[in-house]
């Protein structure tokens, strides 16, 4: 990741989110650190941000997965091969050795902000 200091930065607006589903934002656009992030909004106000890259399918698709709860954890199921990723930690629930980057995310006014 970049050398820059971690801080809260706006990535999109609240109305861009879809309830109980995912959208994708591009961060560090047009830099070497350009990254796709999947943003999920569960219920009214629970927000999660993880990398959009599916390490199994090797494609940028996680935001198109179905979100759900498994044993009390919030997860997204990859639309390609259905592995689950814990939305809070990024841990794959089927394979301990695989996890994806998870980020802090919050709503500030009308703006959705991520910390990186």
């Amino acid at each position: 990741m970049s050398q820059q200091e971690k801080q809260w930065r706006p990535v999109c607006n609240v109305e861009d989110l879809i309830n109980d589903s995912g959208v994708c934002v591009l961060i560090n656009e047009d830099t070497e650190d350009e990254q796709q992030i999947a943003l999920f909004c569960i219920g009214e106000n629970k927000l999660f941000a993880v990398s959009n890259y599916d390490p199994f399918g090797k494609a940028n698709v996680l935001y198109r997965g179905i979100v759900g709860s498994l044993g009390g954890r919030y997860v997204v199921a990859s639309p390609l091969y259905k592995q689950h990723f814990d939305l809070e930690s990024g841990q794959c629930t089927e394979d301990e050795s695989v996890s994806i980057e998870a980020y802090d995310v919050r709503v500030n006014g009308n703006s959705v902000e991520m910390c990186w």
């Binding site: 990535v11 999109c12 861009d16 879809i18 309830n19 109980d20 589903s21 959208v23 994708c24 934002v25 591009l26 656009e29 350009e34 796709q36 569960i42 219920g43 890259y53 399918g57 090797k58 494609a59 940028n60 698709v61 198109r64 997965g65 179905i66 979100v67 759900g68 709860s69 498994l70 044993g71 009390g72 919030y74 997860v75 199921a77 639309p79 390609l80 259905k82």
Partner: protein, 849 residues
């Protein structure tokens, strides 16, 4: 152990083929070459179900292997070729085509031939045997010129042959030398009951008859004269008086043979000649030839392991149990172990019910502790339990007669727990209870999984019920609740959820979760399942905002996701009929968006490589040209394939294209537990392959024949003939009812084929429900289908007209960029996804425009 070697297999019956499969499975590389010498023109086929040939199955249906599969495995096969000589010193085989083939290991799987007693006159035309596919063709031909047929031999195969003759419409007789039928498997009383049942079915049985001569007849083609002065007139004669091992090749090569024939083998299936093995019916272990397929498979496994030097500690053939259960002329017959009570001191319990033609006997040891054998005629429901008692020497309780008495209180149904791990559950594939448990250890969690992993219950299928009880018991023992709950959020089966939604008029997932589920969110199992039920019941637009989170990505984006995250687009082409104008539009769209274009198996065109943000633009153009979504992404009707029909075809008898278009337009958009495919053929040549579809319609002179619950794919299933000579209206009525009944009652992701296999009462039950309206809701099913038809909408048309829905079709909500990870290279003039290596090298990669 990887060594370069050449294995030559003589014979390509079920056992010879099984041997090849075993070697392919076990070998470490194709350095182990295999050559198969096959005397028949057909590769291995299912001889156990040979009689189904007369029921309409073709040689291809009975085939157990294809040339393509052998090619893929690098197995060379010489069909219609006989091995004529084996030189065990130079280790070569010579064929009747004058080929000499060297081997490192030779496997004799030559099988057996039908024994024809040397009765004068047996070599005339219309005196045939019942053994191979070619024999069956001859029998069919002869039967077409005959009215009366005789089977010589009242054993298992003879009765099967009699069944065939009867099905061919002949007045059928069975002539048996012994005083009873099936003398090997049944006792005298059992034989008597079997005889009376068979005679009830119109087959005349003559026992104690020694045929002396076959001469010209008076009323029929031939007359058979018997030793006691009786005679019988017949037009054709089938010999089925037992089988003999094909061991001549071995004898010529001076291999040791058994006392009553068969190439002698030891427990590792080795013959007396170095590096030569014998398996199946041509082999004799301790002077005994095993005329069943299951022991043959065991021998194939043993020989393969010894030749490849793999896992040889467990590879031993020590003989096999010859217990058997089958249906002969519709009569259930079972024979277990010491059926005749020959063991010293053996005692028997006998139950006979003459009015219903049921006979049951168990043979137990002198000390009444173990079951030695059994005979069952007319009802074999206790077979599985009795067999396990015998095979595993399970201690009998007091009053063992309760095992066969009807309505006995506390009938000791043998729980799966009582079986030892060594108990063989599936004898066709030699799968033990232990094998089943270890497949569950490795992650199998349903009967279906266990079948896939172990092959249990995929041979004759006779052990299916026992398999299920073993699997269920084991899962329960692990605390896995064996229930039909679809997931942790709903303690209901799909069918129950369907009823709940319907009865309580629930219209959203949240509503259902709140009233009948647990947890706050659901998951990727229950959400799409409920989404599909809601769509089936209410037929709402699937992208209503409340339904969006329920859909699999394919349903959400109304396209099929491919491995690189792009989508494929399939416009509907009803019945496969398309105008040149529309074809040109599809071509222009594909060209404009640089899409890979391929014709599908369902007679339409698939356009691949569309980025998510391109989907709306593509569909705007397709819709403007009058096209609609093909629902290729949905668990719904895919296509109705058709042949061109009587409009053009010289042979067609109905307008198959017109019917296909009508059916496709009627059922398009119907949401179901799984995808549904149809086909309509214009005549019985069946060019549209309707019998492999969920709903198959075949034109006949008087209308349409309807087939249901066929399937291609991983586990092909022939459709069942459901009704014949239907007019258009009745055809549609039946399809409405079958489909709606399936939609209401099937499990999640259950194709119609599996649904039918699991439907209690099977085809007959479905006919009762649909044709006879036994549940009294036939009209309800129809009106529900009418409702679905009336509320149909093209989801893409609705989507394009709705700016809010369109917002979803973009990769990033905060950028106009597209996904740079999607990269294509050129192949045969079109795009294909770049591999990871190609992406790294960045050579020749074309980014999407």
């Amino acid at each position: 152990m990887s060594i370069s070697q050449h294995i030559v297999v003589v014979g390509n019956g079920m056992v010879g083929n099984h041997f090849v499969e075993e070697v392919v499975k076990l070998r470490e590389s194709t350095d182990t070459r295999i050559t198969v010498i096959c005397g028949e023109p057909n590769l291995a086929y299912d001889r156990v179900h040979l009689s189904e040939f007369f029921g309409g199955k073709t040689a291809a249906d009975l085939a157990m292997i294809t040339q393509e599969q052998y090619d893929e495995w690098n197995v060379e096969v010489l069909t219609s070729t006989l091995a004529t000589n084996i030189d065990t010193e130079s280790k070569t085989v010579t064929t009747n085509t004058d080929k000499t083939i060297s081997y490192d290991h030779l496997v004799m799987a030559t099988g057996s031939y039908a024994f024809v007693p040397p009765i004068p006159g047996h070599e005339q035309p219309h005196c045939l045997v019942y053994r191979t596919l070619e024999d069956l063709v001859d029998i069919q031909e002869s039967a077409s010129q005959s009215k009366v047929g005789v089977v010589v031999g009242g054993g298992l195969l003879g009765l099967e042959a009699a069944n065939a003759l009867q099905n061919l419409g002949l007045q059928t007789h069975v002539v048996e030398f012994a005083p009873q039928l099936m003398g090997v498997q049944l006792d005298e009383a059992g034989g008597r009951v079997l005889r009376s049942k068979i005679e009830e079915l119109g087959v005349q049985v003559h026992t104690g008859c020694a045929t002396q001569i076959i001469e010209a007849g008076e009323t029929c083609r031939y007359r058979m004269n018997f030793a006691d002065g009786r005679y019988l007139e017949t037009d054709m004669i089938l010999f089925s008086a037992g089988i003999r091992p094909y061991d001549q090749l071995g004898r010529d090569a001076e291999m040791a043979v058994g006392e009553r024939g068969g190439i002698a083998i030891d427990a590792s299936c080795k013959t007396s000649a170095p590096d030569v093995y014998a398996i199946g019916e041509c082999a004799a272990l301790n002077n005994f030839c095993y005329g069943l397929v299951a022991p043959g498979y065991s021998m194939a496994k043993v020989a393969a392991r010894h030749i490849l030097q793999t896992d040889i500690e467990n590879a031993e053939f020590a003989g096999a149990d010859m217990s058997t259960k089958l249906k002969l002329l519709g009569v259930e017959v079972g024979s277990i172990g010491d059926a005749h009570g020959k063991t010293e001191g053996a005692l028997a319990y006998i139950y006979e019910n003459q009015p219903e033609g049921v006979y049951k006997k168990i043979v137990i040891s002198e000390d009444k502790t173990t079951l030695l054998g059994a005979v069952l005629v007319g009802d074999t429901s206790e077979y599985d339990t009795l067999l396990q008692y015998m095979l595993n020497s399970i201690a009998l309780e007091d009053s063992p007669e309760a095992l066969i008495l009807p309505m006995a209180d506390n009938k000791p149904g043998l729980g799966a727990d009582a079986l030892p791990e060594t108990a063989v559950i599936c004898s066709c594939h030699n799968v033990t209870k232990g094998d089943i448990i270890s497949s569950i250890d490795e992650g199998a969690c349903s009967v279906g999984d266990v079948k896939t992993c172990t092959k249990a219950a995929t041979g004759c299928g006779g052990c299916a019920a026992l398999l299920k009880s073993v699997v269920d018991a084991d899962l329960e023992g692990r605390g896995v609740e064996v229930s039909k709950d679809i997931c942790e959020h709903f303690a209901y089966s799909r069918q129950e959820l369907y009823d709940i939604i319907k009865v309580n008029e629930i219209r959203t997932f949240e509503g259902l979760l709140e009233s009948h589920g647990k947890g706050e969110l659901g998951c990727e199992i229950c959400k799409p399942a409920v989404g599909s039920i809601l769509a089936s019941v209410w037929n709402d637009y699937v992208l209503e905002p409340v339904h969006i989170p329920l859909q699999d990505t394919n349903d959400t984006y109304l396209a099929n996701m491919q491995k690189d995250g792009t989508y494929s687009v399939v416009p509907r082409i009803p019945g496969g009929e398309i105008t040149p104008e529309k074809l040109i539009v599809i071509g222009e769209v594909a060209k404009k968006y640089n899409l890979y274009t391929k014709i599908t198996g369902g007679q339409r065109i698939d356009l691949f490589g569309a980025r998510i943000d391109q989907l709306p633009g593509i569909w705007e153009e397709l819709i403007a040209a009058g096209m609609e979504t093909g629902h290729a992404y949905g668990k719904s009707l895919r296509t109705v394939k058709s042949c061109v029909g009587k409009t053009w075809c010289r042979y067609g008898v109905q307008d198959s294209v017109g019917m296909a278009i009508f059916l496709e337009n009627r059922y398009k958009g119907l949401r179901a537990p799984h995808k549904i495919k149809f086909a309509v053929s214009g005549c019985t040549r069946e060019c549209a392959e309707a019998q492999s579809k969920d709903i198959g319609v075949i034109a006949v002179d008087n209308g349409w024949n309807l087939y249901v619950c066929g399937n291609g794919g991983m586990k092909p299933r022939h459709g069942d003939l459901f009704a014949t000579d239907l007019d258009d209206e009745t055809l549609v009525k039946y399809i409405d009812r079958v489909l709606m009944f399936y939609v209401k009652t099937a499990d999640r992701l259950q194709r119609t084929s599996v649904w039918m296999d699991n439907l209690e009462g099977g085809l007959d039950y479905l006919k009762e429900v649909v044709i006879e309206d036994s549940l009294g809701f036939g009209e309800t099913l129809e009106s529900q289908m009418d409702n679905v038809v009336e509320t149909y909408q093209c989801e893409w048309k609705t989507t394009i007209g709705n700016p809010d829905s369109m917002k979803r079709f973009r990769q990033f909500v905060n950028s106009k960029k597209t996904d740079t990870n999607i990269q294509f290279v050129d192949e045969r003039g079109q795009i294909r996804p770049a591999t990871e290596a190609e992406k790294l090298s960045e050579i020749d990669i074309k980014e999407v425009q």
